[in-house]
Amino acid sequence: MKDKLLPLDRAISENLGPGDAVVLGACLEPDIPFAATYEIIRQGIGGLNVIAPISDASTDMLIGAGCVAEVTGAWVGNVSGGLGHNYRRALEDGEPGPVIVHDHSNFSLAMALLAGAHGMPYVPLRSILGSDIARSNPAFRRAENPFSEAREPVVLVPPLQPDLAVLPVQRADRHGNAHHWGSAGLIQESALAAEKVILLADEIVDAEVIASDPSRVLIPGYLVAAVCHLPGGAHPSPMTGRWRRDNQFFEDYHRVSRTRDGFLDWLREWVLEVPDHAAYQKKLSQRLDDLRITGTAPAAITSYAVA
């Protein structure tokens, strides 16, 4: 099988171009691929349509860095601090540039990615009836449920098939076969909906490790374009069994990004002047070590024996 292990900069430059639609943060609060967020900013890839239900401060950073033309999501802000200052500036003042928002709820975005994942032509939904979301996002259509006697209204959600999804996983082999555990958000729907997938693997393991537990597989390697070995690549977001959340990092970001200049200072310090993930780890140093989960709380033994 093809070896798909690549450095992050090559994985991004070979699989993401200006104007692409990209899933960055499929699991809501955990497993946000911040290392990829930073690399996209460093490469200055612009005009992106950033897709994520909730991805904590990642989308806000990309907006502030001028990479974003469109946001397809349910929530953009900072879970520790609330509002996303760059998001506000872009929408309220057009700074650093205008951003078009495709409003979703978590569930409507879930249905759009589900439809994209399985080639469903669209999905009818009850869950955003009554909400202005069904009006402010012109992608939705209203219809009646033909199976109902009472002319029940439904909202039709068209499928999303992003150009790329960048997905952190706890472990993968070099061929892109990967295990993910803990809450899954929309990670599997994103993996199947996207045209291409880049995995950020906290650990690279032998193929036998992944094959020992096929039910834990997020997605098999033949659907994966590239695997990057990036321990802590989701920092400051948490990863089940591996990394705690760096709450202070989010709070600091929220505070300093209140002004445009404060954000630009933060961007220089944490992204532009940090050449790669190794340098980022080194800069965090002890702080990253303190977030590392070193204990073990093993899952019950499961066997796939045949005899």
Binding site: C27, L28, E29, P30, D31, P53, I54, D56, G73, A74, W75, G77, V79, S80, G82, L83, G84, Y87, R88, A90, L91, E92, V101, D103, H104, S105, N106, F107, S108, A110, M111, L114, L125, R126, S127, I128, L129, G130, S131, D132, I133, S136, E152, P153, V154, G182, S183, A184, G185, L186, Q188, E189, S237, P238, T240, G241, R244, R245, N247, I293
Partner: protein
């Protein structure tokens, strides 16, 4: 406020727990009067017992460990649309007299005065939970006659508007730092149901952007019991969310 929210959870309820304060409210309910409640988190978690450590987000490792289920968003939020969620909690920036909540745009959508983070799962919870409980700070700029944008539907224009839009359920209570509001009457307008100790009706009305009417039988909110306070301290040891 948290204790009042916890009291809205009945024993055995399947509860959609939002971010921040509701996580603590769920824990308090579970440790006091609702030991059989089940907590759903939109990131893909179902829990019985509250997490063993304070949570900054619902996806933090202590909420994963020992969960009853770690699955996808669809498996959890699908239970809302399937009609299996008894109560859901959300917050908001603006709420109006019919319990509609705005967490999206203040001002014009095309050029908003304030761009708020958006729905997250709030629109889904508001639309599909059997009972919606909102938790908000009570300020006049937040309690408005009509929200600029309905992110999370309450009773819309009141009366039968919500059911005409195809929705059941609806707001059951709005818990604020001053009082509790509940819908009342055929128009389903929010009324003042109880005032927290240390607050009064005039003050509450002064901080409300519509002509807030009292419910018949308006009383003072019962102060937190010793058991409730103990549960609160057990759940939020460090006082992060108080």
């Amino acid at each position: 406020m948290i204790v009042a929210a916890a009291r809205e959870i009945a024993d055995g309820d399947v509860v959609f727990v939002g971010m921040r304060l509701p996580i603590v409210a769920y824990g308090v309910a579970r440790l006091t009067h609702a030991p059989n409640a089940v907590g759903l988190f939109e990131c893909g978690i179902v829990r019985y017992a509250p997490a063993g450590a304070v949570l900054y987000t619902m996806g933090d490792p202590p909420n994963q460990m020992g969960a009853a289920w770690a699955t996808g968003l669809i498996q959890v939020m699908g239970q809302l649309q399937r009609g299996r969620v008894d109560a859901g909690f959300i917050g908001g920036a603006e709420i109006d007299r019919f319990g509609n909540i705005n967490t999206s745009y203040i001002g014009d959508i095309a050029k908003p005065r304030v761009k708020l983070p958006g729905s997250g799962g709030a629109a889904d919870i508001a639309a599909m939970a059997k009972r919606l409980i909102a938790i908000m700070n009570h300020q006049k700029r937040r309690f408005v006659e009509k929200v600029d944008y309905v992110t999370s539907p309450g009773f819309l224009d009141g009366g039968e508007a919500r059911s005409k839009a195809g929705l059941g359920g609806g707001p059951a209570a709005v818990i604020t730092d001053r009082c509790i509001l509940r819908p009342h009457g055929p128009r389903k307008e929010l009324h003042l149901a109880s005032v927290h100790p240390g607050h009064n009706v005039d003050e509450v009305r002064g901080h409300t952007g519509w002509d807030l009417k009292p419910l018949p039988g308006l009383a003072e909110t019962a102060p937190p019991s010793r058991a409730e306070l103990a549960a609160l301290h057990a759940i939020d040891k460090e006082g992060v969310w108080r």
